[in-house]
Subunit: 230 residues, 2 copies
């Protein structure tokens, strides 16, 4: 057995890339070549190179070979928090307060965003998430009642809509948007901050096989930040 595993080979090649052995755009050796050089099988080299490609350092194409990217595509893997966990991990006591719970015909802008038919019913929810009694985030959510009718019977005073949906409704994919916005009157009141304060916001939409489930906008208290390693 060689002393090289796919980890060490990946690291070795990574070092050679950062050391500039292959300038950006230049062809790198083929997998078989590396396998020979490191005394391992081609599959092991393949695994190492696939990870480097996945991390955005190199580009690989059949027949065309492997090249170092001109500008490495920096990526961060963000863990999107479940608010209750986030608060409890930080040592706080979580509580939430539902300030609006209304079943209604979907307004147009939600109809188009959730791809709903005319006269579709939705649940409109507004919730304040509290840490040790202080506002942590304010959530404005719309739920497609066709996709998740059971939510009307959910004990939303005990479990947040987010957690209930994660548990009860299968989802397949979603999208997320991060931005900053100034607090409007409602956000300011809910978060006990001044109107116009700069709030970090997360918008999310999730669906299951072409059927939209829910869309949500979360306004965090001033000073909040998300962190990730790169």
């Amino acid at each position: 057995m060689s002393e090289h595993n796919h980890h060490s080979i990946r690291e070795a090649i990574h070092r050679r890339i950062t050391a500039g052995e292959w300038p950006p755009g230049e062809l790198m050796p083929a997998e078989a070549r590396f396998a020979e050089e490191y005394g391992c099988s081609r599959a092991t080299v393949n695994r190492a190179l696939q990870k480097l490609a996945d991390d955005g350092l190199i580009e690989r194409k059949r027949r065309a070979g492997t090249r170092v990217r001109d500008v490495p595509e920096k990526q961060a893997r963000l863990r999107i928090p479940v608010i209750r966990q986030e608060i409890e991990t930080a040592g706080g006591v979580y509580r939430s307060h539902v300030i609006l719970h209304e079943v209604m015909k979907a307004p147009d802008f939600i109809r188009s965003r959730l791809n709903l038919e005319r006269d579709a019913s939705v649940l409109h929810l507004q919730t304040v998430h509290l840490s040790d009694g202080h506002p942590h985030a304010y959530e404005d959510r719309w739920v497609n009642l066709e996709a998740a009718p059971g939510i009307l019977d959910a004990p939303l005073d005990k479990i947040s809509a987010n957690e209930w949906l994660i548990r009860e409704v299968p989802y397949s994919s979603g999208e997320v948007r991060f931005s900053a916005c100034a607090a409007g009157p409602r956000e300011a009141e809910a978060l006990e901050t001044a109107e116009g304060a700069a709030l970090f916001t997360i918008e999310r939409a999730t669906w299951f096989e072409d059927r939209f489930i829910t869309t949500m906008k979360l306004f965090y208290r001033p000073g909040y930040h998300m962190w990730a390693e790169v």
Copy 2:
């Protein structure tokens, strides 16, 4: 040959998870069992399950087997943009304007952040990034001159410090922080917006094997957002 590849097997198992076949925390079948069921080799199943674990849907432990996570760890893979590319991809013409370029002894808060010795020299840079002549983002950057002395000779009017550093200085890791903040006088002037406007900000620090290279804070014009699939 079976018609199953690791993609289709991953999707199949993913569907069975979302359908609730194995409640959270419950033991899933072993790799060998899946291999038998899908008529493929264990290695193929392994690859599918590793991806699901990587995506945060399941947890795997030797001997202990594979289990569905209680709350799936939602993750988003964010592509951190190189500003020039971001602007050009959107069809704009990129230009940048260096408004401060100063070599100085590192102030204390930077010394501690970059882990520098006393009397270390740093380069302080402030840059406005323009799209079609309009301010897109404002950057405040500190560079450790021990780690990247060559930057003093770099044509920073032609290539941004970020791109120069990516090209010329090997890095190994970094961290990134997303937040919202209110525009101060400098940010407001640079971005041609009002003081107090809500700005989306990205802070980054990068280093190479325990040696800090640079730290930077980027303030985006109001209305900017980052997007990702989940």
